[in-house]
């Protein structure tokens, strides 16, 4: 098929016509889902805020189901499709393999998303996004999710195809860029995950249609989390790739070591398939040996991989800054970083919040025995709002500030507001995560409409501190919604009203990536080795917090009733 290639005059990135359209449509669809998700977030938070308690119970559970699906599945997946096409077609400067399939993927996902939302808003499918059997949703709830999954799988296939095209048409030489390698990691995990997902989604659909009589409730949880957890590793791989991308574009940063970073991505592929275990630590149907093996041996290698990225990303930035002459003390490189550039500030807050809050809380939560202190409490959503929100969502928001000018050819409107948005959203969401974890530590349940237990035969008074934490949850949740809403406003506003930018030269054939000689690289980065003491200090700080928090929780555990 005839197509054209446009070279962006600002960034030098080259966009193939079809890939560019697909990236735009997927990104915009993602933003629309984020809008729906954001509205539901506001309703959820105003209901969980004990002083307000906005919605009645039935509507709360309906809206919470929609929030989980529209945010975790739809917003994230659509944006990831754009990331995949960018990391393949744009970074490798080649045409997209099978754009027709990519459009089919897009429409399947869009229609699937709408069908599931219809099912949810009709009111008969308030089963939460986990849809544990035997609680049953309407059949089209499951059908919609299956369509989304099939669409995503096709999109991933187009990504793989595009890598083959680039290799065959020799648009680059040597190995894949690190960012593309990260996206490849995400795509490989996505393939496994979606296939595992098919193993549970199809039977569930048949069951909802009455064709299959019963699905074992424990088995469902196990296979479902094979999908549900591993897919979080897609998000981590994607946002780590985005971190590297931003470090490269903003600072010209070069990975400290290609080998180490790639090895860390490889660890994700090898060791996260089985982490569904840590959602089942307090379940009856699995043995302790199975739980320990799956959470430790398999998961800790993935944790190690995240710790490695958590070191190499800031390390690469520090090295780049030091090469530019910011060499005073431990932290001049960080102080003199472009904190007013939302691309950088968003990325850095994402990195810190994901590492210190999301990462540490996740490992503690995933420790076999400690899980009993937190399973199904508010700690759990607190934890994942510091992974998939301050980690993935914020990284995607940050990279959008980069993409609007180069991909959509519009200048961002209201630059002052753009500057503060990552702080507003990133900080309030981090605090929200923290106070949610605080409430969970005090026992408050997730997915629970009424802390006063109205209609129950007894009373239970939560400690005052729990109400305090839930009040703070309300306040910071509202601020976070404002921060997220501001981002949507800025992005949509810029797409509609931003100053049009020059698209750059269009050609009917791709310009391959120039061969990057060692000499050219040395000229750009300096060949000598640069030490990164500031990053070492940050990493040690992370490590110490990690160790302390980990053992504090064992101490808590040792104080509860004896169990065996």
């Amino acid at each position: 098929m005839a197509t054209t290639y446009r070279t962006c005059p600002v960034s030098g990135l080259q966009f193939e016509d079809q890939a560019e359209k697909l990236m735009r449509w997927n990104a915009v669809a993602g933003v629309l889902w984020l809008l729906v998700g954001g509205i539901t977030a506001l309703l959820v938070i105003l209901t969980r805020w004990p002083a307000i308690k906005l919605l009645p119970a039935d509507q709360f559970y309906l809206i919470l189901t929609a929030h989980g699906i529209d945010m975790l599945i739809l917003w994230i997946l659509f944006f990831e499709m754009a990331v995949l096409y960018f990391a393949s077609s744009t970074l490798l400067r080649c045409r997209l393999a099978a754009p027709k399939v990519a459009w089919l993927a897009f429409w399947l996902m869009a229609i699937g998303g709408i069908v599931t939302n219809i099912a949810v808003f009709q009111g008969e499918s308030s089963v939460m996004f986990t849809s544990y059997v035997p609680m049953q949703a309407a059949w089209h709830f499951y059908l919609g999710i299956i369509l989304v999954a099939v669409g995503a799988l096709l999109g991933v296939a187009v990504f793989f195809g595009t890598l083959v095209v680039a290799k065959r048409e020799k648009t680059y030489q040597g190995s894949l860029p690190l960012v593309t390698f990260g996206a490849l990691t995400a795509a490989i995990i996505a393939t496994f995950t979606i296939l595992a997902g098919a193993g549970i989604l199809l039977p569930t659909l048949l069951w909802s249609l009455g064709i299959l009589k019963e699905i074992d409730a424990q088995l469902y949880r196990m296979v479902w989390w094979g999908l549900g957890h591993s897919s979080q590793q897609i998000n981590v791989s994607a946002h780590v790739a985005v971190w590297y991308l931003i470090a490269a574009v903003v600072f010209g940063a070069k990975p400290l070591s290609e080998k180490v970073s790639r090895f860390a991505f490889l660890l994700y592929i090898l060791f996260l398939q089985l982490a569904s275990a840590h959602h089942l630590l307090s379940d009856p149907g699995m043995s302790a040996e199975w739980k320990v093996l799956n959470t430790s041996y398999f998961m800790y290698f993935a944790v190690m991989a995240s710790m490695i990225h958590g070191f190499t990303v800031p390390g690469a930035i520090e090295a780049a800054q030091r090469r530019k002459g910011y060499t005073n003390g431990l932290f001049e490189w960080l102080r003199k970083a472009p904190w007013g550039n939302p691309v950088f500030s968003g990325m850095f807050i994402s990195l810190v919040s994901f590492g210190f809050l999301g990462g540490i809380s996740g490992v503690v939560l995933g420790t076999e025995q400690i899980n009993m202190l937190m399973h199904n409490t508010f700690y759990v959503p607190g934890h994942f709002h510091t992974t998939v929100v301050t980690g993935t969502t914020l990284a995607f928001m940050a990279v959008t500030y980069l993409l609007v000018p180069v991909l959509f050819r519009r200048e961002m409107i209201l630059p002052k507001l753009c500057q503060i948005q990552p702080y507003l959203f990133g900080i309030s969401m981090s605090v929200l995560g923290l106070v949610m974890m605080g409430a969970g530590t005090l026992g408050v349940s997730r997915r629970h409409w009424d802390m006063a237990f109205s209609g129950a035969p007894f009373q239970y008074e939560w400690p005052g501190a729990a109400y305090l934490m839930m009040g703070l949850t309300g306040i910071f949740g509202v601020i976070a919604v404002i921060g997220g809403g501001l981002w949507i406003l800025l992005v949509v506003g810029s797409l509609l009203f931003g100053k049009k930018l020059d698209g750059g030269k269009v050609s009917d054939r791709p310009t391959p990536i120039p061969v990057n000689t060692q000499a050219a690289s040395a000229a750009a980065h300096g060949s000598e080795h640069v030490a990164v003491p500031g990053t070492v200090v940050l990493a040690l700080l992370l490590f110490v917090s990690f160790v302390l928090y980990y053992f504090v929780n064992w101490k808590y555990l040792s104080e509860v009733w004896l169990l065996s």
């Binding site: 379940d283 005090l442 007894f458 169990l563």
Partner: protein, 179 residues
Amino acid sequence: MSAILPPSERLWWKQPIDKVEWAWIAIAFVWGMVMFVMMIYWHIYGKQNLSNEAYKTTPEMFAAKAEKFIAENTIRTETEQQIPVVKVPANGEGYLIARLWAWYPILELEKGKTYKIHLSSMDYNHGFSLQPVNINIQVIPGYEHVVKMTPTKEGTYAIVCNEYCGIGHHSMLGRIYVK
């Protein structure tokens, strides 16, 4: 900008790794191993481990056993609904039914005694969340989980349901007395 370009050293896998990076990798690895060993250590020396004892069952089978237990050990009833308060024999076995939307019956235990509490659900997933102790265990229909527990303090405890189980989920509150 090399993260978005092919590696400048074509033989990147032959580049040496910096000492500091090695050190961090080593720290991360050792820490992973410490966390691994910690779980095993706690299984051997720790006093809070979730029981491994579980059986496949059906709501009917479980309800029958629980009803027998309740009939034999009820000491009084409480609340308007006349919920039986059942004294679990010291160091003996007790049953707790999770169903829409109640924990049934009320259990009475003694501090320092060890009990085998059988948990199962009659319908959907439920969440056994003992407050204010904060122990949380998933309760799944079709599975009978036998949890050995030893209360360490007297008092009146609440069992909150913390797995979403439908419109009455927030009213699913149970009770355990520890004398």
